[in-house]
C-alpha cells in the first residue's frame, strides 16, 4: 500500500451530548479509491464531516499530506486540497449550473480542457448549463455536486453516498464516472451503502460500526470472502446483484 495521503489516528467526535466517533483510525492512500462502508448510524458521514472540520474532533489527530489539520477551519481544509460532496449534495439551487461550477473554481476561470473533461464525465450538465440548478433531477444534481468538487484539481475527494436514491441507470452512470476519476489518478474516499457499486469501484475498503473502523483491507479480499461480508455487513454481494 502506498504512503497515506490522509491519516486518522484515534479520532473521537462528539455532537452535543452524543459520542459518535469512538477512536477512528485509518489511512487513505494516494491515487486510490477507498470505500467507507457500514450500516446507517455507523459514523461514516460524521467521519467525513470531521475530516472537513464541519464538526470538530474532540480528540485524536487528522493528518493530511503530513500536515495536522485536526483543528483547521473548514475553509482551510478545503484550501488545502480536500473537496467534499455531502449526502444532501448541497448544490446551490438558485444559482445556475454554470454559476455553481464558477463558484467552485476558487482560483479563477476553469480551463477549457478541464471543463471539457468534466462535461464529458457528466454530459447531462451541458443541457442545463445556464439554468437554475434547482431544475435538475436528483441524479443530475448529484452529477453537478461531483462536477463542482472536481472543478479544480484537488488532492482528495470525500464523497458521501453518491448513489443514494438514484435509479439503476443513474447508478451505472455514476460508477462509470468514478471509474474515469480513478483512471485520472484522483484520490477518493467514498461512503457507500450500495455494496454492488462499492465492489465495482473500490481499491480498498474500510468498514465502520458503532463509530469505529472494524475492518480495513483490499476490496478484492472482501468481495471474494462471502463469510466476511456476512460478518461485517450482514449481507453478501450476491444479495445486491
Amino acid at each position: 500500500m502506498s504512503e497515506p495521503l490522509l491519516r486518522l489516528q484515534d479520532v473521537h467526535t462528539h455532537i452535543g451530548p452524543y459520542h459518535i466517533l469512538h477512536g477512528v483510525t485509518c489511512d487513505i492512500p494516494a491515487g486510490q479509491l477507498t470505500m467507507l462502508l457500514g450500516r446507517n448510524g455507523a459514523g461514516k458521514t460524521t467521519t467525513l464531516r470531521t475530516i472537513m472540520g464541519l464538526w470538530r474532533a474532540s480528540s485524536g489527530s487528522i493528518r493530511f499530506d503530513g500536515r495536522d489539520i485536526t483543528r483547521c477551519s473548514t475553509p482551510s481544509v478545503a484550501q488545502g486540497g480536500i473537496a467534499y460532496v455531502p449526502e444532501s449534495m448541497a448544490i446551490f439551487t438558485d444559482l445556475t449550473v454554470r454559476e455553481n461550477i464558477v463558484l467552485a473554481a476558487r482560483s479563477g476561470p476553469v480551463d477549457s480542457a478541464r471543463l471539457d473533461w468534466m462535461l464529458g464525465l457528466f454530459p447531462a450538465l451541458k443541457r442545463f448549463w445556464n439554468l437554475p440548478a434547482g431544475n435538475l433531477s436528483g441524479g443530475q444534481k448529484q452529477m453537478l455536486a461531483i462536477a463542482r468538487a472536481i472543478a479544480e484539481p484537488r488532492r482528495l475527494l470525500l464523497v458521501d453516498e453518491p448513489t443514494k436514491g438514484l435509479a439503476p441507470v443513474m447508478v451505472r452512470s455514476m460508477i462509470e464516472a468514478f471509474r474515469a476519476l480513478k483512471e485520472a489518478g484522483e484520490t477518493i474516499l467514498l461512503v457507500e451503502q450500495n455494496f454492488y457499486a462499492a465492489s465495482a469501484l473500490g481499491d480498498n475498503v474500510l468498514v465502520m460500526d458503532d463509530g469505529r473502523i472494524v475492518h480495513s483491507g483490499a476490496m478484492s479480499d472482501l468481495v471474494a470472502d462471502q463469510a466476511l461480508q456476512q460478518r461485517l455487513l450482514g449481507l453478501s454481494l450476491d444479495a445486491h446483484q
Partner: protein
C-alpha cells in the same frame, strides 16, 4: 486557460426556464386598478410618483436587513438605529456646509446631498462593524437572543444619539434645488421624490449587478442558500458575514438620509418608527430576496398612498392587509429564497 463563461462552452438547444412574472405584474396591475377609483389622471400620477418615491426609500432602508437575514440568519431588531444614525450623520455635513444647501447652484446642492449620503454610509458602516462584533456575533444561531440583544443595542444607541444631539426633534432643510415641484399640466411631482426614485433605482440596479454579475455576489447568493457548503468550497463565510452586515448598515444609513430629508425633521426614534414597514416589506418580498424587497417596498408604498387618498381611515391597516393577502397567496413571500 479559457474563461468558463465563454460562449463556446454554452450548449445549444437549452430548455427554457420559467420566469416568475406574477409578482412583478402586481405593481402595474395595482396602479391600473387604482386609476378608475381615483378618477383624476393627474392625481393618480402624483400619488403614483409619491408612492414610488416612498417605496424606494423603504427599499433603501429594508434591503440591508433582508440581506443580513438571508445570509446570516440574523434577526436584527436594531436595524432601525442605523436609519436614525444615518439621518443624524447628515448634521455632520449640514452644519459646516449649510451655505451649499442655500446656494442657488444645482451643483453645490447635489454635492451637499451626495456628501450627506457618503458621510452617513461611512458612519453607519463603521458603527455596523462594531455592532456586529460586539452585539450580534455572540448570539449567532439563537433567534430569541438576537431579538433581545439587538433591541437592547437599539435602545443604547438611541440614547447615545440623545446624548450627542439632544432629545428634541431637529429640523433640517432640503437643498434649494430639491425644494418645490415639477409641474406638467395638472400633474405635480415633488422634485425630491423624483430624486429619491432615481437614487432608489440606482441602488437597486447596483445591487442586482453586484449579486448577479460578480463573484462576491455569487458568494452572497450561495451563502444565503447554504453557508456551510460555501465554507466547504474554501471560502471564509465569516468575513462575508461581516462585509454584508456593514453594507446592510450603510444602506440603512443611506435610507436614513433620504428619509430624513423627506420628513425634514430628525428624531432618534425615526428609525424604529419605520421598522414595522421595513419588516412588512421583507416578509412580503421573501426573506433574503433583494428583488422581493424591491417589489414589496413599491407595493406597500403604492397601497399606502392610494388607500390614504381614497379611504384615509383604512391607511393604517392597509399594509397589514397587503401582507396578509400576499402571504395567503405565497406563504414564503413573493420571491422565496430556496433555503427558507
Amino acid at each position: 486557460m479559457t474563461d468558463i463563461t465563454a460562449e463556446t462552452t454554452a450548449p445549444t438547444e437549452l430548455p427554457r426556464t420559467k420566469t416568475d412574472w406574477m409578482p412583478l405584474a402586481l405593481v402595474p396591475a395595482l396602479a391600473l386598478l387604482a386609476l378608475p377609483f381615483i378618477g383624476s389622471p393627474s392625481a393618480w400620477v402624483t400619488l403614483t410618483v409619491a408612492g414610488l418615491a416612498m417605496g424606494m426609500m423603504i427599499f433603501l432602508m429594508a434591503s440591508g436587513l433582508t440581506l443580513v437575514f438571508g445570509l446570516m440568519d440574523i434577526i436584527n431588531f436594531g436595524h432601525g438605529v442605523f436609519i436614525s444614525l444615518g439621518a443624524y450623520a447628515t448634521l455632520l455635513v449640514l452644519g459646516p456646509l449649510a451655505g451649499w444647501g442655500a446656494a442657488d447652484s444645482v451643483g453645490l446642492n447635489l454635492a451637499l446631498l451626495l456628501l450627506c449620503i457618503v458621510t452617513a454610509m461611512a458612519v453607519t458602516g463603521i458603527v455596523g462593524a462594531v455592532f456586529e462584533r460586539v452585539i450580534v456575533r455572540p448570539v449567532y444561531g439563537s433567534h430569541l437572543k438576537q431579538i433581545l440583544v439587538t433591541m437592547g443595542g437599539l435602545i443604547v444607541t438611541e440614547q447615545a444619539i440623545h446624548a450627542l444631539w439632544g432629545a428634541s426633534p431637529i429640523p433640517i432643510r432640503l437643498p434649494e434645488t430639491l425644494r418645490g415641484a415639477f409641474v406638467i399640466g395638472d400633474i405635480v411631482m415633488e422634485r425630491y421624490r423624483v430624486v429619491a426614485v432615481g437614487i432608489g433605482l440606482l441602488v437597486f440596479l447596483g445591487m442586482q449587478l453586484l449579486l448577479n454579475r460578480t463573484r462576491i455576489g455569487l458568494l452572497i447568493r450561495a451563502g444565503v442558500e447554504n453557508p456551510e457548503m460555501v465554507e466547504a468550497l474554501g471560502y471564509r463565510i465569516r468575513r462575508l458575514f461581516v462585509s454584508v452586515f456593514v453594507a446592510g448598515s450603510a444602506l440603512a444609513g443611506l435610507g436614513g438620509v433620504m428619509w430624513a430629508f423627506y420628513r425634514q425633521t430628525l428624531t432618534a426614534g425615526m428609525g424604529m418608527e419605520v421598522m414595522v414597514l421595513v419588516f412588512i416589506v421583507i416578509i412580503i418580498g421573501g426573506l433574503g430576496s433583494v428583488g422581493g424587497c424591491f417589489v414589496g417596498s413599491i407595493l406597500v408604498a403604492l397601497v399606502a398612498n392610494y388607500v390614504g387618498f381614497l379611504a384615509p381611515k383604512l391607511a393604517l391597516i392597509s399594509n397589514i392587509l397587503v401582507m396578509a393577502l400576499v402571504l395567503i397567496w405565497r406563504p414564503q413571500g413573493l420571491f422565496p429564497v430556496a433555503r427558507r
